[in-house]
């Protein structure tokens, strides 16, 4: 890469970094892991920078990388933890610990399957349209709609359950 491309990449990275780390935090519930995912995603973008620029929308590529990395992390953990004959587990983070000091919303997000979590973050935090979310996740608009609906229902039910436990 020439110095002009390097400067373009540096500017792109500085502009996207905070939102990317926040997205990573929403996906993983862990600040350090979020930074690590964001750093790895930007390194991959740097490695393909001229091609990414030619493709036209580096943001879509960047988000796809971090979402895939998050999904891959969950799948990798599931494969490592599963023994032969075990029932498959949903793609959710481990349950919140008793001493969990994460905000309640982040803890609730971690109880969602990673696909629904991704839809919630892209749709409701990044304000993307259903079509844009579908493009980033590589699925249909109908699938985005149903995942968003299920996630909202789960978050509401989760809240009811939490209140019942407290009462």
């Amino acid at each position: 890469m020439d110095s002009r491309s390097e400067a373009e990449f540096a500017e792109f990275m500085r502009g996207r970094w905070p939102a990317l780390v926040r997205l990573g935090y929403g996906l993983t519930g862990d600040e350090r892991l979020a930074e690590s995912l964001a750093r790895a995603a930007l390194a991959k973008v740097h490695a393909s920078w001229p091609r990414v620029l030619r493709a036209g929308d580096p943001d879509v590529y960047l988000r796809r990388i971090i979402l895939n990395a998050s999904l891959g992390r969950v799948r990798g953990r599931r494969v490592r933890e599963r023994r032969p004959g075990d029932e498959p587990e949903p793609e959710t983070a481990p349950p919140a610990r008793v001493d969990d000091d994460r905000p309640a919303l982040v803890a609730a997000l971690m109880r969602l399957p990673v696909g629904q979590r991704s839809v919630v973050l892209l749709r409701y935090w990044m304000d993307m349209t259903e079509a844009q979310v579908a493009a980033v996740l590589g699925c249909s608009v109908g699938s985005v709609r149903s995942q968003a609906s299920r996630a909202l229902a789960t978050l509401r039910v989760g809240e009811d359950v939490a209140e019942e436990v407290l009462l």
Partner: protein
């Protein structure tokens, strides 16, 4: 935590995620790692091309190897008279060119 509807979820997500203050962007580290990834890819391409070239050079040599010459000398056939088929044993033993065909 109370989530009423989509608008409420948006506001709560904004409140939690936008409050997070990430450190400065590690531009140099990301660029360094990006260069390593690109170098690894180039190495992979070179290795792949080397394998293809190796197959391209080696395969015709393997396929075009001349066949071993067949000996046209008449083999010596020896037949030893056996002791009949009693007890399931063969009636005779053969040897062609010094190699036994059948052993009891």
């Amino acid at each position: 935590m109370t989530i009423v509807d989509e608008r409420d979820l948006r506001q709560q997500l904004d409140g939690v995620l936008d409050a997070m203050m990430p450190p400065d962007a590690p531009v140099k580290a990301a660029a360094r790692k990006g260069k390593l990834i690109r170098a690894g890819r180039s190495l992979g391409i070179v290795a792949g091309l080397a394998v293809v070239a190796g197959i391209g050079v080696g395969m015709p040599r393997l396929l075009n190897q001349p066949a071993r010459e067949v000996s046209h000398a008449r083999p010596t056939v020896m037949v030893e008279q056996g002791c009949g088929t009693a007890g399931g044993r063969p009636a005779a033993e053969f040897a062609v060119g010094g190699c036994a065909w059948l052993k009891p």
